[in-house]
């Protein structure tokens, strides 16, 4: 007993004060990729390299529509590497000096959004005959960034905002997201300091924190869990797979994202989302932080 107390005093406070203070990220941490749409001369290498189809394009009538879906992104950095490689080739041809990569991994992880469309960026380009971009016609950073958190009613915030019980549901995940959700309960992230705790039954819960992809075998269990949760309730879809099916997408055994089965209030991108990203999403759902307008806008 004395040993335990001694250790406790020696360690002191281990908790990090996120979101009060920005988290200490390793210099190497990869958040979401960011795109300089003006300078982006070719989306094809990045789209080709993207393992989950988060970066995609469609050419029609000499115009290319590029979409970037953070709801599919696994923060792997392959788009940055592919764009850098192609930029080096291009600059060698043009014999120009150093060229800055238009696709760069940022350290931004506060990506949670109440509207699925907020996670999608689009850019339209006219094309050169060789398929490279000629001119940027338009770019968007999601249609409703100016109305943060609009889908969650103020009444729910008032009702749930001071204390919250979460039931976590693994609807088919690889256990990656679960690891980081478990980490929310450790002394470093300590989600209980917000009056938020994880409960054992959906009947005790205000929020379902659901990971995916939703498998065919878990669909019924997810529906039943949702039905067993008393109203008003909030559903948070976690991770690329929970949002969109991620690398699994939809197939004979996977139904894709959580919103294919139950209504979702907040989406938390990542693979897996780090604990601070989860916390940000949960607090966003509670109205305790505001969605950063334009946090996804182009640089």
């Amino acid at each position: 007993m004395f040993k335990i107390l001694q250790k406790t005093f020696k360690v002191g406070v281990a908790t990090a004060d996120y979101p009060g203070i920005a988290p200490q990220l390793a210099e190497q941490f990869r958040g979401c990729p960011e795109f300089d749409f003006d300078a982006w001369s070719d989306a094809r290498p990045a789209a080709e390299a993207c393992p989950t189809g988060a970066i995609a394009f469609r050419d029609r009538d000499g115009v290319r529509l590029v979409t970037v879906d953070y709801g599919r992104c696994i923060f792997c950095g392959e788009c940055e590497a592919a764009s850098a490689a192609s930029a080096v080739q291009a600059s060698a041809v043009q014999a120009s000096a150093t060229q800055i990569n238009p696709v760069r991994m940022s350290q931004n992880f506060e990506l949670a959004a109440a509207d699925r469309r907020d996670l999608v960026l689009t850019a339209e380009y006219t094309l050169h005959p060789d398929g490279r971009h000629a001119e940027l016609k338009s770019a968007t950073s999601g249609p409703s960034a100016e109305e943060p958190g609009k889908r969650i009613e103020a009444a729910i915030h008032n009702l749930l905002g001071r204390s919250l019980s979460i039931r976590q549901v693994d609807a088919g995940s690889c256990n990656g997201c679960e690891q980081e959700i478990v980490a929310l309960n450790n002394p470093v992230h300590d989600i209980e300091r917000f009056g938020i705790h994880f409960v054992a039954s959906p009947r005790h819960a205000d929020m379902l924190l659901v990971t995916g992809p939703v498998t065919r075998n878990m669909e019924l269990a997810l529906r039943k869990t949702w039905a067993a949760t008393p109203d008003p309730k909030v559903v948070v879809a976690v991770g690329a797979c929970g949002i969109s099916g991620g690398i699994f997408g939809t197939n004979y055994a996977s139904l894709g994202g959580v919103d294919a089965v139950i209504p979702v209030d907040v989406y938390v991108p990542g693979c897996p989302p780090r604990p601070e990203a989860l916390l940000y999403g949960i607090l966003l759902a509670l109205g305790q932080v505001r969605q950063r307008p334009g946090s996804l806008s182009r640089r």
Binding site: T52, E78, C174, N185, P202, T215, I247, Y252
Partner: protein
């Protein structure tokens, strides 16, 4: 191994068609027909071999047959023997081994479900991977498209074996569990407190992974391998990359092998620390879990410094690793390990200081050594029950062939000894990393990217923190795979839980389950 193979040819001239060393150290024995029982029996009982896994492949359109593969190894021999038994498409049936070898129970039933090949004589031939109310489909057959939209569920749901008697009742648990863990269904038959019999129902998280491997280009499939079991992302992805590298004869630069070894051990350390805390937590000793969570964060921060990801994603690649390390990153390893070693020692001292914790862990959830070896249990769970297996030593890969380290093995097989194996392994892993860092060579961190030639087969095994991970691949055209078989150690080990809980009280189930800490997603894929 060559003498053994020669012996097989002489003893079974009727059955053995050919023997070839397809990849250095991997011998494929092609049989004349679907019956592998006589040879398997000889290897197992006469030659002390171990059957690691059984799996199948659809080669009907290419060769007109299915193949069943039986993977064996022997103590003290790093080679693998793969029996390859053709099964005619017109008569899709093979003799089951499950009656004499309970360890292959699920594996053979998986073959029935995935490929529609009948395991003739299986003592319990019910579906296992596809739930009872699935339509009659065989998803890993080549004529079944990945994107098939299946009709809604109908038909009978799974019927659990009933238990009768005065005061005997069933407790159904799951698939949604009370903790933050993966989904599966447990049906406990209990007489008051003690558990009479546990029935498991898995595959709730089945998401078509092995089928999806056949669609993705190989470089993208590395990311799918990271999502087989998210707590073993690096181990699974390394196993996958090694299989491809062996198939395509890609030489991994020395530096990349050192980096991989360090990260494999960090994955082990991070998970063993959290398991130590979670085992203490499940018997109500929460302060130990709090410290474990704190120490684990230190390891995850180091992982982030080394790979950009707390859980080691996006790092391993075909031919090496994606990112090299600067001097400062290597120094961070040394610094962090020093703190983690010290903190972990304190954590262990705290756990050991509590007699009531020891009282709950000792003689709880016993898996006896004879049962463990009969069931083919691997990894931490096996080593706590006298099964002296460790892929790092038995089939060395990466830098392990140059390292000396000890493999902790206990006989008691209770929760406490599964904890002790983990505690010992954390110390060993720290020493392994130190030795690896001390000899870290310079040079490239990845072999140049190259297309993967079609028609090559290879397997690779990695000792993940849970145990033996095996990937077997057949490469195909267009930089894609024809087949990728994934064996997570959890597949071997679920029967151990059924065995270990018997006679224990229901209240001890969580800690027994946690002491195995198996992967549902790795099982279900």
């Amino acid at each position: 191994m060559t003498t053994l193979l020669k012996e097989l040819r002489e003893r079974f001239p009727e059955q053995v068609c050919s023997v070839e060393e397809s990849v250095p150290g991997q011998f494929t024995v092609l049989l004349n027909g679907p019956d592998a029982t006589a040879i398997a029996r000889h290897l197992l009982t006469g030659r002390q071999a171990r059957l690691a896994t059984v799996f199948a492949e659809d080669r009907v359109s290419a060769e007109g047959v299915f193949y069943n593969y039986y993977l064996f190894d022997r103590p003290g021999d790093p080679a693998w023997v793969l029996l390859k038994a053709p099964i005619p498409a017109g008569h899709p049936s093979f003799p089951s081994l499950a009656a004499e070898l309970p360890g292959v129970n699920w594996a053979e039933r998986e073959i029935q479900d995935w490929f529609g090949l009948e395991a003739a004589g299986h003592p319990n031939p019910r579906r296992v991977a596809l739930h009872d109310n699935w339509p009659d489909v065989h998803p890993l057959r080549k004529d079944f498209p990945l994107d098939t939209v299946l009709p809604p569920f109908e038909g009978e749901r799974h019927v659990y074996r009933p238990a009768h008697g005065e005061g005997v009742f069933h407790i159904p648990v799951g698939p949604v569990h009370a903790g933050i863990i993966e989904p599966g269904h447990f049906d406990f038959a209990v007489a008051g407190e003690p558990i009479l019999y546990l029935q498991l129902r898995m595959f709730y998280t089945h998401k078509g992974t092995e089928k999806l491997f056949e669609r993705l280009p190989i470089p993208r499939a590395v990311f799918l391998a990271e999502s087989i079991s998210g707590d073993s992302a690096f181990s699974h992805a390394t196993a996958f990359c090694q299989a491809i590298e062996r198939a395509a004869e890609i030489e991994v630069p020395a530096r990349a092998q050192f980096l991989r070894t360090i990260l494999l051990e960090l994955e082990r350390i991070a998970n063993h620390i959290s398991d130590a805390g979670a085992i203490a937590n499940d018997v109500g000793f929460m302060i130990a879990n709090a410290h474990a969570g704190r120490v684990r964060e230190m390891v995850l921060r180091l992982c982030e410094t080394l790979t950009g990801s707390r859980v080691l994603r996006g790092m391993v690649a075909i031919g090496g690793v994606r990112r090299d390390w600067q001097r400062t990153q290597v120094e961070a390893i040394e610094k962090t390990l020093e703190v983690v070693e010290h903190e972990f020692r304190d954590l262990v001292a705290i756990i050991r200081s509590s007699n009531s914790t020891r009282d709950r862990l000792e003689r709880t959830g016993i898996l006896r050594p004879e049962k463990a070896s009969m069931l083919g249990i691997v990894g931490v769970a096996g080593r706590a029950s006298g099964v002296d297996l460790d892929v790092r030593r038995d089939h060395p890969y990466e830098v392990y062939r140059h390292l000396t380290f000890s493999v902790p093995v206990y006989q008691a097989g209770d929760v406490r000894h599964r904890l002790l194996v983990r505690i010992d392994e954390v110390s060993e892993s720290i020493q392994i990393i130190r030795a690896t860092v001390a000899h870290l060579p310079d040079g490239p961190h990845c072999a140049p990217a190259q297309p993967i030639p079609p028609g090559r087969c290879a397997l690779s095994a990695v000792e993940g923190w849970r145990g033996e991970i095996i990937h077997w691949v057949r490469t195909g055209d267009g930089n894609r795979l024809e087949r990728c078989k994934v064996k997570d150690p959890s597949i071997n080990n679920w029967p151990a839980i059924v065995e270990a809980v018997e006679g224990n009280i229901v209240a001890d189930f969580p800690v027994i389950n946690k002491s195995f800490n198996l992967s549902y997603s790795g099982t279900d894929r």
